[in-house]
């Protein structure tokens, strides 16, 4: 059985580390069974211990050790790397924000602490990194370059790409995509990241694969409505929403938010993230707080018309979508292969950072020659559908 270390920011009820980490300890629902993972958690690092910290109680119950440093966690108190895989979950906890509004989670530092051990001990093991690789593209890129240099697989990202879809669609591999649009909600930079990655997992399946990002632009406020996104795709995406607000909240009615004009009344601060890819594809993320509470997507796919879906975020506290993600992590730990490319997360980390820089510059369009990240989508669907 593979031995893994969990390296986390905090381990508290409903933190990412708890709801993902626990699944390795007590199992999780998977394909109609309560799956007992083929991996064993042998060590844990927690960066902060806020009130409600569960690290000690989990260690005691499940027979592993909490170590004071990442190196010791990976070596389990010995002088050599003593695990077969590392799960880095650096989300939640008290960390400062920078001038772009990004939370400065030390994912790069955690990752670097791991690679230092790998290098010194002459062995590298698979690493999962929760959410974006880093708030900084430079750091994120270093992380993947380092993984390539030391030859270990990396899996990263959000659970949106792997959760249930309503309806259960997949863009056929190699399709010509003419335009794509994502609707998201929540704050920056946690939730816009999820939304961008959800869109990316769909559009990376287009003909030629991902070719990198040519430019980005983030337009905030009223001006966002004038951004050049497709009204038709916005209608399609919102038709998949189960959470329109305003009049629906008031008396339960269904709403055509776009054509009635309610959308603009409901969203006080819209934001349009405009992404231009190197192959010419233009995609838009609209953050529409106040109008809806879910994540929906639509794209014009040649030969298939408009394809649209909702990325289902299942209810709290089960958040079963994180079980979908944990099964992917387990797959990598067991097989030594990442089921989908971390380059996806790299490019999303970079596009988000550049979007936030664009916002800081008053919505200026920014050329992004550094984001020439090319990769191909996995042929197999990776989201929950069995």
């Amino acid at each position: 059985m593979k031995r893994i270390a969990i390296v986390s920011s905090i381990y508290r009820y409903l933190s990412h580390a708890q709801h993902m980490g626990d699944r390795f300890l007590i199992g999780y629902p998977h394909e109609g069974k309560w799956h007992k993972p083929d991996v064993q958690v042998v060590s844990l690092y927690v960066d902060q211990k806020p009130p409600g910290d569960q690290s000690a109680e989990r260690a005691k119950e499940f027979g592993f050790t909490v170590y004071p440093t990442i190196a010791e966690t990976l070596r389990c108190g010995t002088d050599k790397l003593a695990v077969d895989g590392v799960v880095i979950i650096c989300e939640h906890g008290e960390y400062p924000r920078n001038e772009l509004g990004q939370v400065l989670y030390p994912r790069y530092e955690f990752f670097k602490a791991c690679t230092e051990v790998f290098e010194k001990d002459g062995r590298a093991v698979p690493v999962y990194n929760d959410k974006h690789l880093s708030f900084s593209f430079t750091k994120a890129k270093w992380m993947l370059d380092e993984a390539r240099r030391l030859q270990f697989p990396v899996l990263a990202g959000s659970s949106l790409p792997v959760t249930w879809r309503l309806p259960d669609i997949e863009i056929p591999l190699g399709s010509q995509i003419d335009e794509a649009l994502m609707v998201g909600v929540g704050g920056s930079d946690p939730m816009d990241y999820h939304a961008l990655e959800a869109m990316q997992c769909m559009i990376e399946r287009r003909k030629g694969g991902e070719t990198g990002i040519k430019s980005v632009q983030l337009i905030d406020g009223e001006a966002a409505w004038k951004a050049p996104y497709s009204q038709e795709l916005l209608i399609a995406a919102l038709s998949r929403s189960d959470t329109p607000l305003g009049l629906t909240d008031k008396d339960g009615r269904t709403q055509d938010l776009v054509r009635t004009g309610e959308l603009k009344r409901l969203v006080a601060k819209p934001a349009a993230y405009l992404i231009e890819h190197n192959d010419g594809l233009k995609t838009t993320l609209l953050m529409l707080n106040g109008a809806v509470k879910d994540y929906t997507f639509a794209a014009k796919v040649r030969g298939h018309g408009t394809m649209s879906t909702q990325f289902l975020l299942t209810p709290v506290p089960n958040v079963t979508y994180s079980a979908c993600l944990v099964s992917k992590i387990e797959e990598m730990m067991v097989t030594g292969r990442a089921p989908y490319p971390a380059a996806r997360t790299l490019i999303v980390s970079g596009m988000l950072e550049s979007c936030l820089q664009s916002r800081q510059k008053g919505g200026e369009k920014l050329a992004t020659p550094h984001l020439g990240v090319r990769y191909n989508a996995p042929a197999q669907s990776q989201h929950a559908r069995r």
Partner: protein, 413 residues
């Protein structure tokens, strides 16, 4: 030429399409989140469907509302949709005051509102009474039109059977039932056609003479696809409280099917503090589920099905089955985006309304009425078994045989 559903709808949606069907809706009440509101609003306001804000290719022209509680929305909707007139009686709603049937379809929503409960705990929703009013107008007008009846046909089996027989005798299309058979599934799986099924299970939540019906429809829309189709039900036995746990531990029903169903849930109440998604032991279940109920029934071809209400433990509808010759159990969840705070729209009404629209446009029932006749009878038999001290009751009246539709009718597009 055989037209696909999409082509039929597309042609009917054209602005020049002659004679848009005129629909009358008869509802018990029209307030936020009543079934009447969910359903009628979808005709008036349209709804998200197939990646569009879809407007039914028909006009809801007449409305009858039986009760007007606080929060009644009838006046608001009548004002905003002047094409819809509100009538004080069912006959007037159907005739527009002309004395003759003046609509092309009827939507009957007899759910919610204050109606008497009988000694068995059944709410006497007036679906049968509304239905009788409808057929009276049909008879006097010498014309019949399709009728959609939300939920089970009636709390009273004899009346339900009469409704079914009347529709067949007078030859008008009648559809009925729950949203569960037509809503999303996670995963989006259809039950394989023509297989032999050894055991089937629905684990869900809610009360007797209420969500039990939804649970029965959940199981029935799946098992009717088995080899030979539905063969009817020979007996029903209900279990509750201590009896339920005794039966659970004696494995009266296969507990691995309960476990498989629970593994499809998105709402499993954590059995231990500090854990967000942990599988319960039987002792945990006993502690968490205060009033469990099971209806176990035997079909005429030997299949046993069990519908279990585990209120307190979950808030969703999960199906599992043992298919002969297959190693793995079959399971899925019939997913309801329930507006309980997380969502704002009960969008599982969208596929229900869509199927009603298809019937109004084509005059064809899109799934078998016999399914809901059977689940209506099963609901009543389950309630009766509970009332008679959880006795096993023979159900010769439920010898209802029917075949499923070839095409899947659950929400996938």
């Amino acid at each position: 030429m055989q037209l696909t559903r999409r082509q039929i709808l597309a042609s009917a949606a054209l602005p020049w399409a002659p004679n848009r069907p005129r629909i009358a809706a008869l509802v018990t009440e029209y307030r936020k989140f009543s079934h009447g509101q969910h359903i009628v609003d979808r005709f008036l306001e349209g709804y998200g469907w197939d990646g569009e804000h879809h407007h039914p290719a028909m006009d809801l022209v007449a409305l009858y509302v039986d009760q007007h509680p606080n929060g009644d929305l009838t006046a608001d909707r009548a004002k905003r949709f002047p094409g819809m007139k509100v009538y004080p009686t069912i006959a007037e709603a159907l005739t527009g005051g002309t004395g003759k049937l003046a609509v092309d379809g009827v939507m009957l929503v007899g759910e919610h509102g204050k109606y008497e409960r009988n000694e068995k705990g059944q709410t006497k929703y007036p679906r049968y009474e509304f239905f009788k009013e409808i057929v009276k107008v049909f008879a006097s007008s010498g014309r019949v039109v399709p009728v959609f009846n939300d939920k089970h046909l009636s709390w009273n089996w004899e009346w339900a059977k009469e409704m079914y027989d009347t529709a067949r005798r007078m030859k008008f299309p009648l559809m009925a039932g729950s949203s569960l058979p037509v809503t999303w599934r996670t995963p989006s799986l259809e039950f394989p056609a023509g297989v032999k099924v050894e055991e089937a299970m629905c684990v869900c939540y809610g009360g007797v003479d209420s969500y039990d019906f939804h649970g029965l429809e959940t199981a029935q829309c799946m098992v009717e696809r088995r080899r030979g189709g539905e063969a009817g039900v020979e007996w029903v036995q209900a279990y509750r409280g201590e009896n339920f746990w005794k039966a659970y531990q004696e494995k009266v029903w296969p507990t691995e099917l309960v476990e498989a169903a629970l593994c499809r849930s998105h709402t499993l109440v954590p059995a231990r503090e500090g854990f967000n998604n942990i599988f319960p032991t039987v002792d945990d279940m006993k502690r968490i589920v205060k009033n469990p109920v099971a209806y176990r029934y035997r079909h005429a071809d030997g299949l046993h099905s069990t519908m279990i209400l585990m209120s307190g433990l979950i808030r969703d509808f999960n199906f599992s089955a043992k298919i002969s010759g297959q190693k793995d159990l079959f399971s899925t969840q019939m997913y309801l985006p329930m507006p309980d705070g997380r969502t704002t729209l009960a969008n599982f009404f969208s596929p229900l309304v869509y199927n009603a629209e298809l019937m109004y446009l084509t005059g064809k029932e899109t799934y078998p009425l016999e399914r809901t006749l059977l689940t209506t009878g099963l609901t009543a038999a389950g309630v009766e078994s509970l009332y008679q001290g959880q006795k096993q009751l023979a159900t010769p009246h439920l010898g209802i045989r029917y075949q499923p539709t070839k095409e899947s009718t659950f929400w996938r597009s």
